[in-house]
């Protein structure tokens, strides 16, 4: 569970780095966005909140929700939100990341077979998420 958290944070940071074309300022001065509401836990669910990780582009913090040892939700608690670009990145990348994390966990897969990806395509692929999971 903790390793999953770390993997999610690393992948979020990687996606932000990948998609951010703008040179950023010192991360300590950056503003942070947070979702207006974090979904409440249902009966039988447990949440594990990771500590905020400072990246070059700003802090990233996630919460993983599990039920019966299966991950059922990933919430992005903090993400860089200083510029329009940051917000666009978040809107694009985080839903995809969360979906991929859930898909990988729910299917318990070791690897992915699909149309050949390029080196760039790999970075945002499900296989990349799996390689970072262990």
């Amino acid at each position: 569970m903790r390793r999953v958290l770390v993997a999610v944070v690393v992948t979020v940071a990687g996606l932000v780095a990948l998609l951010s074309f703008k040179t950023h300022m010192n991360s300590s001065e950056r503003t942070v966005g947070s979702p207006s509401s974090v979904p409440p836990l249902l009966a039988g669910e447990h949440a594990l909140t990771g500590r905020a990780v400072r990246t070059v582009y700003g802090p990233v913090q996630v919460r993983v929700v599990e039920r019966s040892r299966t991950i059922v939700g990933v919430n992005i608690l903090q993400h860089p939100a200083e510029t329009t670009m940051d917000i666009q990145i978040g809107q694009f990348a985080f839903p995809r990341l969360v979906g991929e994390t859930l898909a990988a966990q729910s299917a318990r897969i070791d690897s992915v077979s699909g149309a050949t990806y390029t080196s760039n395509g790999y970075i945002s692929s499900l296989q990349s998420a799996l390689d970072n999971r262990a």
Partner: protein
């Protein structure tokens, strides 16, 4: 490149599995290997092999054997012996596919459609020759497994997935196209090992219509899973009989013992289109296929069912 290898924790409790992702051949090759493959150097040897293949076979390098051969600046005899081996393998698949697979897709010699699967299969064979019995190598979406996946995440490194030093009869790396046969042998031993502390590798088949999603999950023990499709790089597979992009299929997956053949078969079948591909893949001994058409319909060969992971 080798400086990116993960460091192993010191002390007796060694993490049993190591994952490594190597950018090479225009894609990324992912390894899931026993930690002993890192300590013993066979992971490094497998990675070195892939970069060597890239240097010899890349059509994007003007000084590669393949580029020089395409430009008629050398003969096959002047190339690495593996070039002749790949050419004869491509010829065999061309003949058995009625010309739908070719080493000259645009009229120019370019065996890339065969080389990646072949190279990844042999990378897996290098790990096997060094003693690993449980590993998975994924070359940009084409998978070769040895054995099954050891149960549990953490076991002592020497307990599972390692048979000790290389067998005296084994060459340092697999040589010759017969390496495909070696994979077949490991498939047989892997099946028996699956009952003792292993479970099948679970390989997700990418959903061609929803990036990051899965169409289904197949189980693999000592076998290969190859998928051809347009989802990542667009319509890049040419129907050699029409001279234009192949149509009708969104993705086609082939499972069987050898990744070199599974990958080539998947490419040929994709070029055939859904109707012809179904009859042809049904006729392939030892290989099964699953297809998703452009309309979202699916079909599978009669022997594919047992490969599908239970829900």
């Amino acid at each position: 490149m080798l400086s990116t290898f993960p460091l192993l924790p010191a002390g007796p409790a060694v993490t049993a599995r190591v994952r490594h992702a190597e950018p090479v051949m225009g894609t990324v090759v992912s390894f899931d290997v026993p930690a002993a493959a890192v300590v013993g150097g066979s992971l490094e040897a497998a990675v070195r092999w892939l970069h060597w293949v890239d240097r010899i076979f890349s059509p994007y390098r003007p000084d590669s054997d393949v580029s020089l051969l395409a430009a008629a600046e050398v003969t096959v005899d002047g190339c690495a012996p593996e070039v002749a081996e790949v050419i004869s393998a491509c010829t065999a698949v061309r003949l058995c596919s009625g010309g739908y697979f070719t080493a000259a897709p645009g009229g120019v010699f370019d065996p890339s459609g065969y080389v990646k699967g072949w190279a990844v299969e042999r990378a897996a064979a290098i790990l096997s020759a060094a003693g690993s019995t449980n590993h998975l190598v994924n070359g940009g979406g084409d998978v070769q497994c040895a054995g099954g996946r050891p149960r549990g995440n953490l076991v002592p490194a020497n307990a599972r997935g390692w048979q000790g030093p290389p067998r005296p009869s084994g060459s340092p790396g697999p040589s010759g196209f017969a390496a495909s046969g070696a994979s077949g042998a490991s498939a047989a031993s892997g099946a028996s090992a699956a009952s003792s502390g292993e479970e099948p590798w679970r390989v997700g088949i990418a959903d061609p219509f929803h990036r990051g999603g899965l169409a289904l999950v197949v189980e693999a023990v000592g076998s290969a899973v190859a998928t051809s499709g347009t989802a990542e790089r667009g319509a890049h597979i040419i129907d050699p009989h029409l001279g234009g992009p192949a149509g009708g299929l969104a993705s086609l997956t082939v499972v069987g013992p050898s990744l070199a053949l599974a990958d080539a078969y998947a490419t040929a079948a994709f070029a055939m289109g859904p109707i012809r591909a179904r009859a042809w893949t049904e006729s392939l001994p030892g290989y099964e296929a699953y297809a998703i058409t452009e309309d979202g319909d699916t079909w599978q060969t009669t022997g594919f069912g047992p490969h599908i992971a239970p829900a």
